[in-house]
Amino acid sequence: MSLWNKEVVPTPKQELEAKEEKTQQARYYKPATDIVETEAELILYMDLPGVAKENLEVKLEKNLLNVEGRIDQGRYKNLTAQYAEYNIGHFSRSFQLSSEINQERISARIDDGVLTLVLPKAEQAKPRLISIS
């Protein structure tokens, strides 16, 4: 595990290039995501700083998984920006899922701005041990 910690260099927030235009003009950002696979499931971890549980939306339509996290812009209302190194904005990212996922049992939880999305594999996708006679 410590090998993984050394590999990744922190990068600035990635802006999302939207395919369709939105009615409200605003920048969206792509949350940094880690995806790991265990024997029984696929797990996604997404950094969504500033996103509370009630502002998080995880949608699954056909095989497209979409995560949208909105920040509370009201918190910035009476502030004036003096010096900025990062911009703020909502988060959005989509992933194409394979039919290997049991879409009914997907679970999501968000703690301290990190979303953990667990996608259990469908029965037939679990690796089967082949015995050698």
Binding site: D34, T38, L48, K77, D112, G113
Partner: protein
Amino acid sequence: MFGFTSAFDTLWDIQRAMENAMRNDYFGPSTASSGYPPINIFNYGENTLVTVELPGFKKEDVKLEVKGKTLAIKGKREIEFPEKASLHRRERSAYSFDRTLRLAHEVDEKKIKAELKDGVLAVLLPPAEEHKPKTIHIN
């Protein structure tokens, strides 16, 4: 902790104001300059508000120290995966950081407030009494 929502202010206005602030040469010729993680500095009335995005950090993982006109923020985050997990994509980084900021004014240390909520650290730094702007009466 701050403000209240208005239907008329758009996120776009805030984002544009932030972009202008990014071109601001706040630190000038001092030791501090941009580093990691990125930090924002706001004014809230006469107070200074420092924000940092620290997703996955808990209160115990962050240390804040104020001394005179400097604010030091340090922290460390570990990223853990389940045992026997195979990696598909890796974009988040586990890291430790230690940044020192020079503030525009001395701080009233008794009135500092800090909050770490949903992965965003916000530190409110009220100015020390002798540094508050004083009204000058014109006779």
